[in-house]
């Protein structure tokens, strides 16, 4: 009969109170694990989404991240093909890398001159094969994420994909089959007339554009001179965020380079690197920094969290909510177990006096009550974890969906509890520690009871 066995029997002796306490702990554990599993799923889902879009790391000109949006072409990476080859041949990087692909960002004005409308846009030239490879990344085995190729796949060199906001403003909704796209009321322009050369653009080749959805994209070349490309819009895609949806134009990299650099040597804004595992980021980053040191261009490495600040904002918000829930539940557990143990001390005062009279030290009494708290915590953690696994399974198989911020498509509502050993262990450990702490004060009080008074207790 050791202390733990004695503690277990004391808990079983008062079944109803023990079960009530356990129930409170189980509900707490389930709440923390389900919300934690939801938070985990969001965190990994967001990471997957961003890593598919912008890779884990990007090599950029030192000032591109802060100043590039004003004039992307001015912060290009020269000799990017050689640099990519160097990265793909590096023995330390090769086992870590999954995709290396370039992108070129540009600012400009897109116009549908047939309708007499135009708007400022932010274009991105991409390598379609590289982008499709990026979209395959699913290291966390996320369920229900879109797996299709980018819309530019298999399209003509001058093809483009625009945001639905761009399509709406450029009055391309009907031609691109964009649903829910109202026609604007007629407006009377009050500005000066369009320059004659631009006004003449739709007249240039109307016969060639019959049956196509065409826009003209005007951009500044790296040298500052304007350049125009005629693009064939193949699709309008919802971008999730309205601000992006209203300016997004995606085009082939070669087309974008032609537009920005013309006959000059083409450059890119960034080299996107996607790793096999996110956990390799520090090692990959360190190696990249090594390789870039001493180069002729001032290049830096940015990670996806820096490039996408909303990742940190969203995960930070969920972490704060989870922390709040955990603290709230921790307080409830603290008081529940503390109350249970305090009642046990009062009820078993004579027993405590007897044990002390028989020769059990104060530390032995403390150990006995702390063991009861420990067993309560362990029981609550085990049963709560099992129930949470069951509830998570039910939620994951219920077919519920939700629309995450920044996404354009609903995805399954999932909670990741199974296999999340770190979260399960942290929750169980936290609960056990709280239970032991809750039991500590009543245990201390029990140990310090006057023996004679305890034996006289009615």
């Amino acid at each position: 009969m050791n202390t733990l066995q004695l503690a277990a029997r004391n808990l079983i002796r008062n079944r109803r109170r023990t079960l009530t306490t356990l129930l409170a702990m189980i509900v707490g554990v389930v709440a923390v694990l389900i919300f934690g599993g939801y938070d985990r799923n969001i965190r990994l889902g967001l990471e997957t989404d961003f890593v598919r879009g912008s890779g884990h790391l990007q090599i950029q000109h030192r000032d591109y991240f802060l100043f590039g949006s004003g004039n992307p072409a001015a912060y290009g990476i020269r000799d990017y093909a050689q640099l990519m080859q160097k990265l793909q041949a590096d023995p330390q990087l090769v086992p870590l890398l999954q995709v290396v692909t370039p992108v070129l960002d540009l600012g400009g004005i897109a116009g549908n001159f047939a309708a007499g409308v135009s708007r400022t846009v932010y274009g991105r030239g991409v390598d379609v094969a590289g982008q499709n490879q990026l979209k395959q990344w699913n290291a966390y085995r996320m369920v229900g994420l879109p797996q299709r190729s980018v819309a530019l796949t298999g399209t003509a060199p001058n093809a483009a994909v625009v945001g639905t906001g761009v399509a709406r403003v450029l009055q391309l909704c009907a031609a691109l089959n964009v649903a829910g796209c109202p026609q604007p009321l007629p407006v009377h322009p009050q500005g000066s007339a369009m320059p004659a050369d631009l006004a003449a653009l739709p007249v240039v080749a109307p016969a060639a554009n019959v049956g196509r959805v065409q826009i003209e994209l005007l951009a500044a070349r790296a040298s500052g001179a304007p350049n125009v490309a005629s693009l064939q819009v193949v699709k309008a895609e919802q971008q999730g965020v309205k601000a992006l949806d209203d300016i997004s134009v995606q085009l082939h990299l070669a087309q974008a380079q032609q537009l920005v650099y013309g006959q000059d040597t083409p450059q890119v804004s960034a080299i996107v690197l996607q790793l096999r595992h996110s956990s390799d980021m520090p090692a990959a980053r360190a190696r990249l920094v090594q390789l870039l040191q001493g180069g002729s261009q001032p290049l830096v490495v940015q990670d996806f969290a820096t490039l996408n600040p909303q990742y940190g904002q969203i995960t930070g918000m969920f972490a704060a909510i989870l922390g709040f829930v955990a603290v709230l539940i921790g307080a409830i557990v603290l008081f529940t177990v503390g109350n249970t143990m305090s009642m046990a001390v009062v009820e078993r005062t004579v027993e405590i006096g007897t044990l002390r009279a028989l020769g059990l030290r104060q530390a032995g009494i403390r150990r006995l009550f702390v063991s009861e708290g420990l067993l309560l915590g362990a029981g609550g953690a085990l049963l709560g974890s099992l129930l949470a696994l069951g509830v998570a399974w039910l939620i994951n198989h219920s077919g519920l969906t939700w629309l995450p911020p920044g996404n354009s498509e609903r995805i399954p509502l999932l909670v990741r509890v199974a296999g999340e050993y770190g979260m399960l262990l942290a929750t169980a450990t936290g609960l056990i520690v709280l239970s032991v702490l809750s039991a500590w004060w009543p245990a201390r009080r029990a140990a310090r009871l006057d023996i004679v008074e305890a034996l006289r207790h009615a």
């Binding site: 004695l6 004391n10 027993e351 028989l358 030290r361 104060q362 023996i451 034996l455």
Partner: protein, 231 residues
């Protein structure tokens, strides 16, 4: 040879703002291997003296020596260890641990003393057999009668063969027939285990069975009773 020596012991209890003397300058010796009763009316200081002998309470002045050890020189841990090894207790309300079987209750002091499991088993079997409860070893206290519980308590008190067994009104919660049986058993066990038994009691049967009687009144020692003189 004395098992216990009480030297000028006084003990007061504070009741609100009033200090009530429970024992006043008591000195006595209690013989080893004897059956001694502390007797006296309610409030005479019997239980207080018993608590001091058992190291459950501390005197305000004076000191107590049990089995050659001055109890006031021991800190709480050493006093606990001393109680575990040298003193057995039998309580008026039996005070068995309700979640332990009769055997486990008897084994508990042995467990505290670090006795090996096989030896615990052997001694508990022997003692339960001696108190006539070998067939109730697996019963919880709640499944035993009052007399049976007190028998288990006596077996528990003797488990470590202590120098001293203290019993506070051991028959007060028993009917006279059962009380008499318990007295006979204790007397028997005292002889068998060669132990010093000290009781507090009003019970005339116990007084009659005792080797020595110590009479207390208002916290002071009175003249020894006839039984003590006879011894």
């Amino acid at each position: 040879m004395s098992a216990i020596e009480v030297v000028n012991v006084s003990r007061r209890y504070q009741l609100g703002s009033v200090a009530v003397p429970a024992l006043r300058d008591v000195s006595l010796r209690i013989a080893a291997n004897a059956f001694t009763v502390l007797s006296g009316p309610s409030g005479s200081g019997k239980s207080t003296l018993l608590n001091l002998l058992g190291g459950l309470d501390h005197p305000d002045s004076g000191h107590v020596i049990v089995a050659g050890q001055r109890l006031d020189t021991l800190d709480d841990n050493r006093l606990s260890d001393f109680r575990a090894r040298h003193i057995g207790f039998v309580f008026q309300h039996f005070n068995l641990l309700p979640v332990l079987t009769a055997r486990e209750n008897v084994e508990y002091p042995l467990l505290l003393a670090g006795v090996a499991a096989s030896e615990r088993r052997r001694r508990s079997t022997e003692l339960l057999d001696a108190v006539g409860l070998a067939d109730r070893a697996a019963n919880l206290p709640g499944q035993l009668s009052g007399g049976q519980r007190q028998r288990v308590a006596i077996a528990r008190a003797l488990a470590l063969r202590p120098a001293l067994v203290l019993a506070d009104e051991p028959t007060a919660n028993l009917d006279s027939h059962t009380g008499a049986a318990i007295i006979a058993l204790m007397r028997d066990m005292q002889r068998q285990y060669q132990t010093c038994f000290v009781f507090s009691s009003h019970d005339a049967q116990l007084l009659a069975a005792a080797d020595h009687a110590v009479l207390l009144r208002d916290g002071q020692l009175q003249a020894p009773a006839a039984v003590q003189e006879a011894a």
